[in-house]
Amino acid sequence: MKQGVIPDDFTAPFWSAANESKLVIQNCSKCDRLQHPPAQDCGQCKSGDDLGWKEMSGTGRIYNYGVVHDCPIRLLQDDQPFNVAVIMLDDDPGIQMYSHLPGTAVDDVPVGAPVELVFEESANGQKIPEWKVVN
């Protein structure tokens, strides 16, 4: 079970979108550039003035993965070992998100395969963006 999330001011748009089963990623409208994790300033123009949030299409590919056997987070330790994959979004492959790949067997991960967005409830009910292999 993933830890619950206590949204802060900065990331509230990301977490409230997730609760509506939407994925939004921070975007600098001046540079037309997405960035994740979100930051106070755009990584390109270094200004925070044009930062907002943009909804993603919800498709991507598995870029890479590892199998976690010794996790520092107590709530996840019962689930060991588990996959942690890196997803690259179709909207912009420079944007990466982590995934436990629900439904994919441990260490049997199809690198390069297409994935689609799903949402998973965490310990306090906050919905978390997750990714499932498209069959």
Partner: protein, 440 residues
Amino acid sequence: MATGYAPSSMYRSREGMGIWEHRGKVAAVGVGHSPTERRWDEKPETSVGAWSIMALRNAIADAGVSPDQVDGIVIVPETTTGAFWPEDKPLPQDVINAFVQTDDPLDGIAKLSVEWLLKNMPELTNIKYSVYAPVCMSNALNVAAQVVGDGLAHTVLVLKAWHNLQGRYYQGGQNAQDAIGGTSAIRSLWGAPACYGTALQFAEYCRKYGKDHDMMTPFIINSRRNGLMFPEGYWAQHRPEELTPEDYQLARWIAKPANLFDNDIPIMCAASYLFTTAERAKDMKQKPVYVLNHADSDAVPRGLTPTLDEVEAECALTGRKIYEGAGITAADLSFENMYDGFTQFHQFHIEGLGYRGIGFGDALDFYQTDISIEGPNPVSPSGGNIGSGRSRFWMHTDSIQQLQGRAGGRQITGVNAEIGVSGGPMPLGGNYTVWSATPD
């Protein structure tokens, strides 16, 4: 005297800066270490402050200078291996009372300030310049070289110390909670341990070049062997155990493809070096080791974790910066002491250097050849963090000692020790020093 962090102008971060303006005019002379310990036993005499003082005094004595000759100090104020003093744990008053304290009761216990050191080292009467470097000795060495070269001080102590407290690594704090803040959740909800990012890069590397985890075995065994000949190191002092191929290959995974022995063991320790001008170094007790260049990597990955493409591009750039400022080529390197704590960093660093002519994808095959200190192609003669525990400074101590001819059992014999390079930690985000037995 308020001490601040070194300005960005002190770092050599860009390609095209030419030969370093102080090439061969700055030298390391003295080396000082504390003992090592797995975790702090909460006694005053083994605190991170006490061991810092010990390392500094050892470096001063090793260089054969009197403390009042020292006019500058560069330290890393962060001392954590990942362990922080728990908020609900009472402060260790007997330890605090054993030293002259600053306003911060954890100064000298879970962090370190120049102010604390100077209050507790009254013999340092002549410090005119002090500056902080973030996180690593590798960074502090870049700063110290520039401080001496620029004439901000002429006899400078450099220090990095580490505290490690009771309890399992990274298991407390927010990792033990049922809910965490939204900003950190974006990265940390998936439970990836510290070595995960490097394991990912290694996984992609293996897929791209057709390599596998077992091919790391000779590197691991070589690193432990060299570490056991490092009397200042953790494994030599506390657990003098050789590693076998089976030990490595059958070890439990932490984040596959990184296993237990691909991770460095967190420890307590401190080390200091004495830097001075090439001119003054001539009159000191040890043979000077000249700094030919220092280089900085300040790249930031686009996404959550660096891709292999980003890693290889940055390591290649770092290699070019290292050689450009030193006025050397890969062929001039007698040895390399690039970072290894995680083991799976090392191949990226040495491929970026083109060490012994290798390119990207070649290092694991290179590891299957003679990489020992006796051979013509010594790899990590220090043994690094894997050989001696998490300090991120063994590679610097070893480089200095190799070039002084006093590396003891680790002294390389298959090649003359003339020029070496050390540094790290990350392929994206590291600091490097080129060392030489002669100033030109």
